[in-house]
Amino acid sequence: MVMTADVKETSSGVSAQKATRDIYLPPARKKITGGGTPHIVAREFSIYYSEFEAVKKVSADILSKYVTAIIGPSGCGKSTFLRSINRMNDLIPNCHTTGALLFDGQDIYGKYTDEVLLRKKVGMVFQKPNPFPKSIFDNIAYGPRLHGVSDKKTLADIVERSLRKAALWDEVCDRLDKNALGLSGGQQQRLCVARTLAVEPEVLLLDEPTSALDPKATAKIEDLIQELRGSYTIMIVTHNMQQASRVSDYTMFFYEGVLVEHASTAQLFTNPKDSMTEDYITGRFS
């Protein structure tokens, strides 16, 4: 991995950063076919909590089947933006939006949008693993059952397929009837991924999925994201910049509600256009 001469770097004059930045280069990836069209489109999109503008006039195209990471310091609005894509912010009272946020060309906050159908297509995995206090099988089958699958064999197929996709099948196949809360934290989080995959979404939103996990479990989740890349449009909010560089194709940097920079991960981490991005990824502030 050779670093090309960097204008920003010379201008900032910090040569010690060079070594650090090597780590951020993304590893070799499998080629993505049939993706690259804008899946989620934001235009002048703002989110307000009462009077407070948490996300300010964001405009961005999120490409389908690629992994997009959202980074930024705490309270910068990255989670708020992510949660607005499947309207989880509806749970927060006094939260409203302006501008446009489109999914597959449809207005997510449109008057006639069915948020239940939207959430079926845009799945989400949360910061803390949150399996239901039910058996592993029932956890995975919860979504399909909701959407009308009642045949036992079909359900069993869906459960196995989802668990295999989430790389959890081998670990739990002999105890599907056990309570999901008995699994380890990492297993629980992969179970949550499997549960989301079981409803066959098009988009997967990951809200700091590894922040509550140990390094080993984190590695497994990252591997899982690599596996799913190319099949789903994935958006991941993370505090861990190495993680962003490892797993994502594109990276968005938010600062105080503003989308500062949105570029391919390789470019954003090696050649940031904005000095603020540069400062953040080099660890000047966090």
Partner: protein, 448 residues
């Protein structure tokens, strides 16, 4: 604050805490121990042959052959008493009128005491009330009556400056020189032969109807009435309460109307129960006319209104205690709000909701005031399930009060009163215990 003071403070708080718990436990013991010992006395006691006679003729229970043998044996001893009475009566006929009147006045209380002890004397007319058809059914009562026979209670008011004192005077002295004087030692020595006391476990106390306003028999109508009232109240209040709690926690928007509803709910929880009783009479019986007069259904509805705020509050708290993450997880899978509530939130909140429900059930079982005007009668037989819409019922809580204060022979049936209290306390304790077990089981299932 330095370390020494801090430790001292911690220790004194611990001491005060333990102390208050000990005081509570002692107070509970002081209340519960007499209830348990006296209450068990309603079932386990030393019963006499009169008790067995009563069971035989009122409930058709017990072996009639053994009873016939016992009767024959006791009658032999009693015959002697009756002979003495007849002899003395004949003797009185021979006396001059003044002497006769003098003895007659002393003789009548003796006869009354014997009637209480052994039942109707030969030649007496058949009594109207069942309570006079039998002698003493319980041995300890028989001993009291024996004392009444042997001694006359007199009051010593010779000292005008002090309260008059009670003292006992032997009746035998009054009959000195007549044939009756032999009666008193005879009865005292042969009482056991005349009554045949033996240890009795009268389980019928729980399953029998009462005979002659609780003088004999059991408390089944009261137990059943309490059960009907409490379960009926739950049938109305539990679904309503859970629905209201779901509304408050999931659907209600913060606004004037909803804050009014909430404070109304809190206020209702603090309204005295007698007010609910009046309300039940005025609203359910007089206005809605759910029944002609007092009925189980009217009582159940009144109790339901009374426990509704508690159930709402418990359910609300249980629902609010469900982690937000469950809701998020369910919604993010494309679940509707209603589906999330029904399949995730309510199951997770179930332990808390059920605990609130069962505690309310215990409260409904124990309340007296709301059913005085709406459902309770003092004496009655057990009603069928079909009669709940038009028939009032005896109930434990009301009858405990009634037997202790308004019954004409309240001091004769203390064991029944205590038995009822024990039954009520046991029912409430059992319900609370089942709530604890239920909660533990569901929580265990939820935790995996």
């Amino acid at each position: 604050m330095n370390l020494g003071t801090r430790k001292l403070l911690d220790r004194s708080f611990t001491a005060v805490g333990i102390g208050s718990i000990v005081v509570m436990a002692l107070a509970l013991m002081i209340v519960l121990v007499p209830i348990v010992t006296n209450g068990l006395g309603a079932v386990f006691f030393t019963g006499t042959v009169e008790h067995r006679k009563m069971l035989q003729s009122e409930f058709k229970r017990g072996g009639s052959k053994e009873l016939a043998l016992e009767k024959a044996s006791t009658d032999r001893y009693r015959a002697r008493v009756y002979e003495m009475l007849a002899g003395f009566e004949a003797e009185m006929e021979q006396m001059n009128p003044e002497q006769k009147a003098d003895y007659q006045a002393k003789y009548t209380p003796v006869k009354t005491a014997l009637q209480a002890l052994l039942g109707p004397l030969p030649g007496d007319p058949e009594p109207m009330l069942t309570r006079f058809k039998y002698g003493q059914t319980r041995w300890e009562k028989a001993e009291e009556k024996l004392h009444d026979l042997l001694y006359e209670t007199k009051w010593d008011n010779s000292n005008p400056n002090a309260m008059s004192k009670e003292y006992f005077a032997s009746r035998a002295i009054g009959f000195e020189g007549t044939s009756l004087v032999k009666l008193f030692p005879y009865v005292r020595e042969n009482l056991a032969n005349m009554l045949l006391p033996e240890f009795t476990a009268y389980w019928g106390f729980i399953t029998d109807s009462s005979v002659d306003s609780h003088i004999f028999g059991g408390i089944w109508p009261e137990i059943q009435g309490t059960f009907f009232l409490a379960v009926g109240a739950m049938l109305f209040a539990f679904p309503l309460g859970v629905i209201a709690a779901v509304y408050f926690t999931e659907y209600a928007k913060s606004g004037f109307f909803n804050s009014m509803l909430r404070s109304a709910n809190s206020t209702l929880a603090g309204v005295p129960s007698i007010v609910f009783g009046m309300f039940g009479l005025a609203f359910f019986i007089n206005t809605l006319k759910v029944s002609e007069s007092k009925s189980v259904i009217a009582g159940s509805l009144t109790l339901a209104i009374m426990i509704l705020p508690t159930i709402i509050r418990a359910a609300e708290e249980a629902i609010l205690a469900v982690p937000k993450t469950y809701r998020e997880a369910s919604l993010s899978l494309g679940s509707t709000k209603w589906n999330t509530i029904a399949t995730v939130i309510l199951p997770a909140a179930l332990p808390g909701i059920l605990t609130g429900g069962v505690i309310s059930l215990g409260r409904a079982a124990g309340e007296t005031a709301p059913i005085i005007f709406t459902a309770a009668v003092s004496v009655g037989s057990a009603i069928g399930l079909a009669d709940v819409f038009n028939s009032p019922t005896p109930a434990l809580s009301w009858n405990i009060y009634n037997l202790a204060s308004e019954h004409e022979a309240a001091d004769q049936i203390r064991h029944v009163q205590y038995g009822m209290v024990l039954a009520l306390v046991s029912i409430v304790l059992l319900l609370n215990l089942s709530a604890i077990v239920l909660r533990a089981r569901i929580s265990k299932k939820l935790k995996g």
